[in-house]
């Protein structure tokens, strides 16, 4: 066992919890996320794509749990998989898609898009390969029980002391209000 794994296990055992089978969980969740991602962009039926995206979101929520981020995992499941994807499914059912599932699925210039995406992938691979030495070997385990409380302090706390994101939180709620107004006005038949 190299130092990274030993340090992680030691501090985790000291904290009272021992992560077991971590590589297995990671590979299963990551493989599920990427396989569902491929299904999202290749399915002919849009409902199949939406369901595959839900599987991707749940797999990514599992990855967040592995990264000691239970609150973000909960937000992901509730907001993304439970809110946004239901909205997508409603719109798919409103818009008549049966006709479009029999037509041509990909653009006429899809090789250009694929080449651009491959160039982007090459850029990512070169960045990760070049910067591999910059990442630390041992990772400390974040405490899981006070995660929500710490995030709440950062979001709602007093602006000077501990709440660094209070103003951003208020702006985010304003953004949601504007989005709701925009969506309602845009879909009205007579303004």
């Amino acid at each position: 066992m190299n130092p990274g794994m030993t340090a992680g296990l030691t501090s985790a055992v000291n904290a009272g919890m021992t992560p077991v089978g971590t590589p297995w969980f990671f590979y299963v969740l990551a493989g599920l996320a990427v396989a569902s991602g491929v299904a999202v962009i290749t399915r002919r039926n849009a409902v199949h794509s939406a369901l595959a995206l839900i599987v991707t979101l749940l797999a990514v929520a599992g990855l967040y749990l592995m990264l000691y981020a239970p609150f973000v995992a909960g937000v992901q499941i509730i907001v993304y998989a439970g809110g946004i994807m239901v909205l997508f499914l409603f719109v798919i059912m409103l818009v008549n898609i049966d006709r479009s599932s029999k037509e041509r699925q990909f653009n006429r210039i899809w090789p250009v898009g694929l080449a651009a995406a491959c160039a982007l992938l090459a850029l990512f691979v070169s960045t990760i390969a070049k910067g591999k030495a910059l990442f630390p070997d041992r990772l400390m385990t974040l405490p899981e029980s006070s995660n929500t409380q710490q995030i709440a302090t950062m979001l709602y706390g007093e602006a000077g002391k501990m709440g660094q994101y209070t103003f951003a939180f208020e702006i985010a709620s304003l953004l949601l209000l504007v989005a709701i107004l925009g969506a309602v006005i845009m879909t009205k038949k007579k303004i």
């Binding site: 849009a46 990264l67 937000v75 990909f106 899809w110 990760i128 990442f135």
Partner: protein, 102 residues
Amino acid sequence: MVPITTLHYLVVAAALFVLGVIGVLTRRNVVIVLMSIELILNAVNLNLVAFSRMWGNLHGQVFAIFITVDAAAEAAVGLGILISFFRNKETINVDEIDLLKW
């Protein structure tokens, strides 16, 4: 087995990002393009949470929450645009939404 480091999560996030980019650039169905944009945002979120774990503080997670909120607003507005356009022209293919073309 190799212990799972931050790099593993970055590779998964990069793969999801590239899949989302392929979906945006090559699909004709507008709803699937919007879903590929959600894939891209999720890849960015995974990146942020992985780095938050690496540095040991929670700034990345709070940023990920804000990006999720922003993705919800953007999905709502994008789908509203799609519905009002569909009411006009009865199509959801990006090829046929070309009223502003020269």
